[in-house]
Each structure stands twice: as C-alpha cells, then as structure tokens.
C-alpha cells in the first residue's frame, strides 16, 4: 500500500494486527523451532498515543538493532487493500500493550513449516509469505 494512503487512513480502521516474536536466546520462530510466540490485537483498542506509534511503525519501520545480542525481533502484520503488510521491528519499538497480546507456545515434535523471518536486517515493508495466525489463543502445553 502506498505510504500516502496508509498515512491518511485512520489507525482505528486498520482492524486486527497480528504480532509474532522471533529470535532471543531460545531462538523463537526459527526453522524447525519448537517454540513460538504470537497473537493479535485490534488497532481500535489502542490508546491515541499507541495508535500514533503504530502508524509510525508501519510508515517508518526501523530495522531491529544488530548491536543487541539475543534480543527479540517483532513482526507486525496488518491487512490492507493490497494484501498483508508486515514490518519487522525491535522490542523497544513495540509498546507493552501490543506485547501483552503475545502468547508463548510449544509446538508438537514435528518439523515446523518454513517461517517468513528474513533475519535481523529485513527490507522494509516486505509482504509476508505466509498467512497470519488465525487466533491469538495460547496453546497451553
């Protein structure tokens, strides 16, 4: 989606935002990894300041910093008229209210499908190669 239309569309109308956490010392979300962390929140439920920050995250996503070793990276995905739009940002970019939507879960002992994480230095606004998660439910072990 062009930035002009993105910047003019109200965040409250963005609907559901999917969030997934990658990396960390435990290697969340890696190929074959048996641990992942994901969830979603509704854009309209955010306060004004967090809505403004969410807009900026999608308008001007900054790459996850490579100086912080073992830190998490976050994938945020919104559905637009042109399909899903995903940005990858550092933990410090993601307010607590958004991170609270995440649930860590263990996967069964079988190979996990390839994941879309392009690594620590992803290109901006790269569309995801997978469908976002259907629910934010926590698969309790």
């Amino acid at each position: 989606m062009p930035f002009t239309s993105l910047s003019s569309s109200p965040v409250s109308g963005w609907g559901r935002i999917d969030i997934e956490r990658y990396g960390g010392l435990a290697g969340y979300g890696m190929p074959g990894s048996r641990i992942r962390s994901r969830g979603y929140f509704m854009a309209q439920d955010l306060g004004a300041a967090d809505q403004a920050l969410l807009r900026e995250i999608f308008l001007s996503p900054s790459e996850a910093p490579t100086w912080m070793r073992d830190a998490f990276r976050y994938h945020l995905t919104r559905q637009s008229d042109c399909g899903p739009q995903t940005v990858v940002v550092a933990e410090s970019m993601v307010p607590e209210v958004m991170r609270d939507a995440l649930h860590d879960e263990l996967l069964p002992r079988e190979p996990a499908p390839p994941h879309p994480d392009p690594g620590p230095s992803p290109p901006k606004d790269k569309p995801p190669t997978h469908a976002p998660p259907k629910t934010g439910a926590h698969d309790k072990p």
Binding site: G27, P31, I35, A49, W67, D70, S92, D117
Partner: protein, 343 residues
C-alpha cells in the same frame, strides 16, 4: 536510569509525535524527551563500539585492575535499564542477585585462570548485569554494554540466571565485541552465537569439573521450565547433536545447509558441532586445549566483522598448529571437527 521502551524508537517518529496536535501536552513532552534521550544513548553505544575497535587496533587499553568489579542491578520487573544498583550483591537475600554476582565473578575467574583474560575486554572492564528484567520475561541478552536477565514465566522457562551457560553465553558476547567484533547476521552472526555457546558450555563444564566425555554439551538445560520438560525438551540447543529432537531450537549440522538471512541461533549449529567434536576427539577438559585454540583465534585475528565460517575454521587450524604444533593431536582434532560439518 533510562527507559528502554523509548530508547530505540526512531528520533523522527518521536519528533513527529512530539508535535502531534492529536496528543496531549504531556504525551508530546514525553515523546520529545524520549527523542533527545534516545539520541544520547545511541551516541553512547556507537562510541563504545568505535572505542572498542580503536583500542583493539592501537592496543591502548589500560589495565585498571586484575580482578574486574562485578555489579548487579535490579529492574524490579520493569524494562528500565540498568535498574537500581544492589549494594553488597554478594550477600543479597535475593537469590537471583546473589547468583548473578557469584557466577559472573566465577566467569571472570574462569577467563583469568584458563585464558589469561582480564574481563571481557582484557583490561578489567566492570561486569554489569541487570536481573528481574520485565515481567515473566523469557529471555537474556547482551545489549552492548551489559548483561540482562529475565525471570522466565515459570512454565516454559525459569529464571535465566539459573544457567551458568547462559551467564557465560552473554558474557562471551562481550568478549566477541572486544575481539573479532563479529556482526550479527549471516555467517558472522552464526559464528558470534557459536562462540557464545562454546564459552557458555565450557564455563558450565568448568563449574561442574566435567571433561569433554562426561559433559552433556547442552545449552539452556538449567533454565528449561516444567511445561517444556514435560514435552520432552531438555535444552535450547545441543552442541553434540544440534539437530536433536530434545532441543527446543534444533539446528542444521552441515555448513552447506545454511541459508542466507537465517537467525544466528540457527546458523550456529555447524560451528558448535565442530567445536564439540574437536573437544571430544582430544579428550580432557574442553577449555584446556580446544578452548584455548578458539580463544587464540578470537584474539589474534584482529577485527573481522564479516569473518566467514571457513575463515574462522582456517584460523583455528592455524592456531592449533601455532599452539600445539603441526600434525599434533590438537590440530588433527580441530581438522576433524571442521570436516565433520563440511568445512
């Protein structure tokens, strides 16, 4: 003390928020303050990295002490770093604080005694750690200046300070920062992670007085929580069997399996296996022979931010010959280790 949450939001974003008419005056002031603060901390981090590189090149790092000071801070379940400094951490009633102090101090002893290395920078740098970071936080990290440990959620993970290998792993990121200065993507990223796993594992074995044959070579075994263990996962990674089903994050075992853009915690599999294989072939304590070769390679190659795995393999073969002689058992073991992973 600084708010980590605000620290990395791009200045442009914060500046825009700082004059956004839709936000309250208080919110605008906070954003503007954060913009200024974040720039200061970014400057500090960049200067630290540049300084480390300059000192490494010019050998101008003055040795201030033979025994580095260890400091521990308490984040009190917030993400504000470094948190409040704990007085007399060695005798704290908080087990996380006391353990972090003790094990960090022992890691400094391990480095000094076994590698003649005075702290992570070779010049007695104070070792700073923050514990109780975040709420039920399932991670530990090195942020370029200090170690940071979460408490774990008590289900999937327990207190990250319970792992001596975790403490060794994070401290080793500091050693890499002051030696090879490896970047954190591609092969240099995988090497960076592997060096931390190797030093973390060696430190855990040193604490348990285990030799290469009796060690389990697991990473994160002591921080795996009850729910994770119930599922049959006993560790994050296994240096002796990176693709094992008992690993939460199984890894490739062959260099040829690595793909561009993968996470460093994935690509560290082959060098981890090479190190473990070499240690087992030589026998004895991992840090006594192969560990010294790895450390020699890290400290004599100079700054190599984009070092490839094959370059590091060549460097360790060279170091083995330098330290133990050509066609020595050590050189043969190092060669066998790298050949096992296709290098």
């Amino acid at each position: 003390m600084y708010r980590c949450h605000c620290q990395l939001v791009p200045d442009e974003v914060l500046k825009r928020l700082g004059c956004d008419p839709k936000l309250s005056k208080e919110q605008c002031e906070r954003a503007a303050y954060s913009a200024r603060l974040s720039q200061h901390f970014r400057d500090i981090r960049q200067q630290t990295r540049r300084l480390a590189g300059f000192l490494l090149e010019s050998h101008q790092l003055a040795i201030l002490t033979e025994n580095p000071e260890v400091t521990v801070f308490d984040c009190r379940e917030t993400q504000s770093l470094p948190g409040l400094q704990v007085d007399n951490a060695a005798k704290s009633e908080d087990r996380s604080v006391q353990r972090t102090y003790d094990e960090t101090d022992r890691m400094a002893t391990f480095l000094r005694k076994e590698f003649k290395c005075n702290s992570i920078d070779g010049a007695g740098m104070t070792l700073m750690s923050s514990v109780h970071y975040g709420k039920k936080y399932n991670n530990a990290m090195w942020n370029g200046l200090q170690m940071v440990y979460g408490d774990g959620d008590g289900e999937l993970f327990v207190d990250f300070t319970l792992g001596t290998d975790v403490i060794g792993h994070e401290l080793a990121h500091g050693i890499t920062q002051y030696t090879l200065q490896l970047e954190y993507d591609g092969e240099p990223g995988g090497l960076n992670e592997s060096l931390s796993d190797c030093f973390g594992s060696m430190f855990r074995q040193w604490r348990k007085k285990q030799d290469a044959a009796s060690a389990d070579w697991l990473i994160g075994s002591d921080i795996v929580g009850p729910a994770t263990r119930e599922r049959g996962y006993t560790c994050l990674r296994d240096l002796s069997k990176p693709d094992g089903e008992h690993c939460l994050a199984p890894q490739p075992t062959q260099h040829a399996q690595l793909k561009p853009g993968e996470d460093p915690h994935n690509t560290s599999g082959p060098p981890n296996l090479a190190f473990c294989t070499a240690c087992k072939q030589v026998g004895g304590y991992s840090w006594a022979t192969i560990g010294k070769i790895w450390y020699h390679s890290m400290t004599t190659a100079g700054m190599m931010p984009r070092m490839s795995m094959s370059e590091f393999a060549a460097k360790t073969r060279e170091s083995a010959a330098t330290l133990y002689g050509k066609q020595s058992a050590a050189e043969s073991a190092v060669d066998a280790g790298w050949k096992k992973v296709g290098l």
